[in-house]
Amino acid sequence: MTFIYNHVSTKYSVNNFVVYRPTMSQNEPIDANNKEQLIASELRYRRLFETAQDGVLLVDFNTGMILDVNPFLVNLLGYSKDDFLEKHLWEVGVFKDIAASKDHFFTLHKEGYVRFEDLPLETKTGRKINVEFVSNAYDVGNIKVIQCNIRDITDRKKVEQLAIDKVNEIKTRDEAILNSIGDAVFACDQNGDLFLFNRMAEEMTGISLKEVIGCHYSQAVTFIRESDGKPCNDFVAEAINDNKITKMTNHILLVRKDGRKIPIADSAAPIKNVKDEIVGCVVVFHDVTKERQIDKAKTEFVSLASHQLRTPLSTINWYVEMLLSLDVGRLTPKQRQYSREVYHASQRMVSLVNALLNVSRLELGTFAVEPELVDITKIAKSCLKDLKPQILKKKLIVSERYDGGISLVKVDPKLLAIIFQNFLSNSVKYTKSGGKIGLTINKEKDNVLIEVSDTGIAIPVSQQKDVFGKLFRADNARKVDPDGSGLGLYIVKEIINYVGGKVWFESSERKGTTFHVSLPLSGMLKETGGKELV
């Protein structure tokens, strides 16, 4: 607690204590002639002086002699009152640096005010403390006095230092973590200026932290699309503007400082403060050269494996075919029957191998989507035509409805054919003789809607959630066709997802099944993969 002393102070002698009492503030005038009032006021101030929890020191302005010192200061510094009184400020051991003390004294003379935010002192016992030290010079009647207010900030300083140490410890630890991460990490503020660039980022880009810190990220890291070499940095802006985690599309290359290009995979996420406001973006990326090589090896392995599987199958097919076409003699009915079984089984295997090939291509994401402007209706009709023999045999009633509004859509015809083939052949397969099949192609907003419905055996409710699963076959489907691979719907779903569409269905024993496919009119995104689906 310190007093703010106003201009005039009066010297009084009360009970042999010589005290300087500041005059009251303007608001409380004292009647100097009212001795009682004076004494009461005097006692009040004396008490404050004596009980203050800060040090107060009064010094004669001219001589530099210490006039008074309060108990707090005496205790704090470990001296006795006598050590202070009638001594010069700089004679008291505590203000060790005599030259400096004298200097300050003279500053006080000149400026009338001296302040030390943090003054290190030593007590009589040698304990080191830190104090806040403020000195004011003012007039007391015709005497000039210096009043020093001293606050012990030793503890505060200790706590401050602990906090600083802790912050530094955390900072060092975080930096260590960032620099040990195997991925390259960089972060920028909402303007895109970099404030973080870890060691891996330096290694991968060949650019040092010093060169890029503070620069816009686009100047520091160059990402280009593999297909056309065009720059591709939008994902960062997208993360910041749209407040979402973005992934760079496949086939992005990082261009190093030395010009070398590395394939990378990455993600960008917005950084938010405690108020949930976006304050920047953090990007993580890593070199996928090895992954790509593995993928390539996998694809080649799958191709080779399927080749090896197909060779014996072709052998079986061809020899049995020649048997059945009676090329090498007549067959007894039993011989013919057995040959048919063999052929049948072999065909089933061939289907399975083809389906597995497609599945592995879908999963590796290595199949090509080659969109062209296609008349979807044409493809649908062609698939129906392929099924004509079975449709006629089962006397199924097919109704087609094509919305004239759709002419050409940019799709990959092969993939679209697989979709139609699958749904239509399923409907034909699982609908009893005399049943109905419906095919509708519509336009709804920005999408093409395809509906394939039937009055068939439907999908049991308990198994409906599994129907798109790999190798899954519903119990009733198995009874109708034990040969199905269980991969058809899985493949169709993967294709539809891959090209940005949606697929769903309703199925009940009473009504049959209707499958819906929605494909974006904007067309399938072109993907450069390695292979086509068979």
Partner: protein, 128 residues
């Protein structure tokens, strides 16, 4: 009688093809790898070549490429008959070397292959 050269390293498959085409009335010559196939092609100048891809010594794509360098070979009719799926490199080569068809053995019956062979020979005959 049309002459066919069948190049395939799998004896079982080769056997089936030879039987089928012989019975269908073709003169059939065979080779079990690309190098021998190339030699045979130049020697016998078949009307059509059925070419496998995966073979030892010299594979089918290389053989086709080499054949196309020759004046006669450039115009030779080739149907690729394999169990290997196309990949990007092959597709590129197919565009340059231009076989008439690329058939997957496992997905094609002997009848279908026969049809395609006859189709190619007929179209060739038309241009003569």
């Amino acid at each position: 009688m049309a002459k066919i050269l069948i190049i395939d390293d799998e004896p079982m498959l080769l056997g089936a093809l030879v039987d089928k085409f012989t019975r269908a009335g073709f003169k059939v010559v065979t080779a079990k790898d690309g190098k021998l196939g190339l030699k045979s092609a130049f020697k016998s100048r078949p009307d059509l070549i059925l070419l496998d891809i995966i073979m030892p010594v010299m594979d089918g794509m290389t053989m086709m490429h080499e054949l196309r360098k020759d004046a006669w070979g450039k115009k030779a009719s080739i149907i690729i008959l394999t169990n290997y799926d196309t990949n990007d490199t092959q597709l590129a080569q197919i565009l340059t070397d231009q076989p008439s068809y690329y058939l997957i053995k496992a997905n094609s019956s002997l009848e279908e292959i026969l049809e395609k062979v006859q189709e190619v020979l007929e179209s060739k005959g038309d241009t003569r």
